[in-house]
């Protein structure tokens, strides 16, 4: 408990709402650019890397809960546990020192993406009948036509989209962290995990 509290400094508590707002704002830019990814976890991954797995977990879960319960995007709310896992994993990979080398950090993004696909498929199949109401549904349709079951097709869609999405998110976070002033970076709890 003590060690968890140590990660939540006032600076981190000030960072989390900004990170959630980043998730939401970039998530909407992506919709505007009509890209086949979501990129709604850049802030979550950033907090995980700067402030550790627990802060990442809180940022991810709250992004989906707030976005959903504000009434603007309620379809995201049931996936709050997936977003939480993404923040947790980003923090764990950061703590393992994987963020110091870019290729390792991108592998971390790939693993996080596959995990997200595995975690979200049951909920997507059980509540939404396997669809997202967006362009990625074409993949679901193709896999169903190929004879896969509902849950298999949902998982297949996730395994196709999520790793790409998370690798791009992890890359953007890496570029952000490298561009941050060193004096500012040093004030975060996990600053020793960051790339040079």
């Amino acid at each position: 408990m003590k060690s968890i509290k140590r990660d939540f400094t006032t600076l981190v508590l000030a960072l989390i709402p900004v990170a959630i707002a980043i998730n939401i704002a970039i998530g909407q830019i992506v919709v505007l650019l009509k890209l086949p990814v979501y990129l709604d976890s850049i802030g979550t991954v950033l907090v995980g890397l700067l402030a550790g797995p627990w802060a990442g977990l809180v940022t991810g879960a709250l992004t989906n809960l707030i976005w959903g319960l504000s009434g603007l995007n309620p379809a995201y709310t049931p996936f709050f546990y997936v977003a939480a896992a993404i923040g947790l994993l980003a923090g764990i990979f950061g703590s393992l020192g994987w963020a110091r080398k870019l290729w390792q950090w991108l592998v971390a993004g790939l693993i996080t993406g596959v995990t997200a696909a595995v975690l979200s498929a049951p909920t997507a199949a059980a509540i939404y009948g396997g669809v997202t109401g967006a362009g990625t549904d074409l993949i679901v349709a193709g896999l169903r036509a190929a004879g896969l079951s509902v849950i298999q097709a949902t998982f297949g869609q996730g395994v196709f989209s999520d790793p790409i999405d998370k690798v791009v998110s992890f890359l953007v976070v890496w570029l952000i962290v490298v561009a941050l002033p060193r004096r500012f970076r040093a004030r975060f709890p996990r600053s020793t995990n960051l790339p040079k």
Partner: protein, 258 residues
């Protein structure tokens, strides 16, 4: 309140309820919609609990328009995909080389029911409950105060961020950034849009943290809230009844599904 919310103040009975009672009501709709046995139970919950509550809260019209906008893409998608590509179903409607299968359509209709019940519950909460009141009520019952800060600060920051994102989009376009065209071009547009947004905002955080500390943010002990919440003995009992109802729905679902 910011624009980042669907809340409408109707001074209705639901608006006057303690936010925790509202949360318990929504929780009950959600649990009943997903746990009750019978493939059509979610429709029953939507028609017999969620819609009457929306009507009682005098938010029926915004509720229906928001629900339609959000549920329709899912409903269309699930009907087409599962209807057309159901493996080994009985074809009932022929569309050229493809056909809609009976089993797939039933599955799609049941999925739509669950989507209605789940998203309807969330929308109803958003329309009838002030987030700040809900967070204060949760803090009074032992939720960490930092959680209240995070949620309320997000609600204030998020709309400003969306405005900022649009400004950056316009600014980069004015400098010749192409945001339309092939997928490669759109992917390349991502970096000049996201990095300025993030870097510009992160550096403000330090000032925000100092401002919080100057106002005794991390001090322990009770704090005074300007928002006074009403609660009553009846509501407290009602909440426990609703919690009991959720447990009953889950047990019923497990027992009758065997």
């Amino acid at each position: 309140m910011s624009a980042f919310s669907l809340y409408v103040d109707r001074n209705s009975g639901l608006n006057r309820l303690n936010p925790l009672t509202m949360l318990a009501l929504i929780g009950f709709c959600l649990v009943a919609g997903l746990a009750l046995p019978g493939a059509w139970a979610p429709y029953a919950v939507f028609l017999l609990a969620i819609l009457p509550l929306a009507a009682g809260g005098r938010v029926l019209r915004p509720f229906l328009s928001a629900a339609l906008k959000i549920v329709l893409p899912f409903a269309v998608s699930v009907t087409l995909i599962q209807g057309l590509f159901w493996t080994g179903g009985t074809p009932i409607v022929h569309l050229g080389p493809l056909s809609l299968k009976r089993e797939g359509l039933i599955f799609a209709a049941q999925s739509t029911g669950r989507i209605l019940a789940v998203l309807g519950s969330f929308l109803l909460l958003a329309l009838t409950t002030r987030t700040d009141a809900l967070m204060i009520a949760l803090a009074q019952h032992g939720a960490p105060k930092s959680l209240t800060y995070i949620v309320l600060a997000t609600l204030q920051i998020a709309p400003r961020f969306q405005a900022k994102a649009n400004t950056i989009l316009d600014a980069q376009r004015a400098r010749g950034l192409e945001v339309e065209g092939g997928i490669g071009r759109r992917v390349r547009a991502l970096i000049p849009l996201t990095i300025p947004l993030v870097l510009g905002s992160i550096v403000d955080i330090e000032e925000r943290a100092i401002a919080l500390e100057a106002r005794a943010f991390s001090r322990s002990g009770p704090k005074t809230s300007l928002l006074v919440l009403r609660d009553s003995h009846m509501q407290r009992i009602g909440r426990w009844v609703l919690v009991g109802g959720m447990i009953a729905a889950v047990i019923l679902g497990i027992v009758l599904r065997r």
